[in-house]
Amino acid sequence: MTVDHAPPDISAKSGAATLAAPVGPALEPVVPAASRGGRLRSVPRWLRRTVGPLVLLALWQVLSSTGVLSPDTLASPGTVARAGADLIGDGTLPSAMAISLQRVAVGLLIGGAAGITLALLSGLSRLGEDLIDATVQMLRTVPWVGLIPLFIIWLGIGEAPKVALIALGVAFHLYLNVYAGIRGVDAQLVEAGQALGLGRWGLVRHVVLPGALPGAMTGLRYSLATAWLALVFGESINADAGIGFLMNQAREFFRTDVIVVCLVVYAFLGLLADAVVRTLERLLLQWRPTFTGQ
């Protein structure tokens, strides 16, 4: 537009920017995205993501070596690393991890199957919604950690109550998000599917389920986080193996280094789970036209 109204003697003005003030508005350059942000943006993203944890680690080491943090309160990173190496060396940590991972896997599987099945039943049919949704919504308000005593009475103190606790936490998260995902599918797309001649099962398979996938992924993330949480709770009661058991033992001997090792393992496993979900999302949701940050 400005071009139309520009006076013909542009060339005369462009050389003398200071004189142009009364003629038009002040101009500012639109900087190309590539040249913006400077050096920090040229660092690979995975490297930038490690900055936060590394700073935290350095701070911890400084506090420990200056004596601000006494070893009784929290062992220094060096001690923790040594304890970790010892635990790995004598095979305690790998076997504990294997047992804990197995509990999470079984709990995820059972809870996931239950949560997704219920979500499909109530998401896809109005009858299912009436029968299932209200019940699940009611049950989910019960804090599941509060069910530990009941689980012990019902299931004893073996593997069952631990797995059940994990399954319960997982099932609710998956149920809620898959259900919301199904009900959030664009009705216009469902109608388009009908117009294209898709039957009921075709609609579910080609329209509803793919549309519910982003919701399901969110549910998976939440439920993985809950699974670790439930694992910690579950293993703090009467466990005779697993990471939680290792932690309880360390508590009795005031071994803060071992406790921190266990916490680091929990965090590491959590990160690993997150990475798995991220990869899944990248593969399954590449069609999604969403904002990915600048």
């Binding site: 797309l189 294209l196 001649g197 075709g202 590449q286 069609w287 999604r288």
Partner: protein
Amino acid sequence: MATDLHGPVTTMATATPDAVRVEGLTRSFDGRAVIDGLELTLRSGEFTALLGRSGCGKSTLLRVLAGLDREIEGTVLVPKRRAVAFQAPRLMPWKRVWRNVLLGLPGKPQRAVAESALEEVGLGHRSGAWPKTLSGGEAQRASLARALVREPDLLLLDEPFGALDALTRIKAQQLVAELWQRRGCAVLLVTHDVDEALLLADRVLVMRDGVIAHDTPVGLDRPRTVGAPGFAGLRSRLLTELGVEQPAAPSL
């Protein structure tokens, strides 16, 4: 598509010269009849435009003909093979373009089937793209390819050019005219654009008060232009039918 359903939308026997027969169709929303005893016959291979003011029920009529709205009274006979292109392309964002085109086709059609349909609308090179990477015009052409691949006897177009910019719209209109001439299917184009209706259709209907209030053939030679003789007269007549007052002497 609709044969196995027990709704009043029934499929008629093949080899009838009529592509659509509607008798005494009524569709009410909360007791208010949007379509009120409507009668309509569309002939095979005819390009019909349905005009009407916003909210007059023209889109509802199209949805009834598509079999998407079955809360109706009256008789509606439509061909078994029919296809719809909506105002929004409504491509499944999780399916690549060619999978979108094949969606809902019976059997296991090959990608080549989709690609030849995409070629026909000039989109062969985008067959493997995600819908999110298509421009508005491309998405609408993909939607058109998805309708055409079904080889419909009746093609229903619900303001398919409404969301396109002026330049893309002209090209899309030309494309639809070409495709119709090549395929020879009956087309019902729902629009509120009188010029568009006159450029494309053999016959223009105006819907008002829940019935077809005005029905006129368009005897202009093809290809048509807005300045063709007789165009202005038809245009002003239709605008009057649509309740639009115009200046006394249009200077064309």
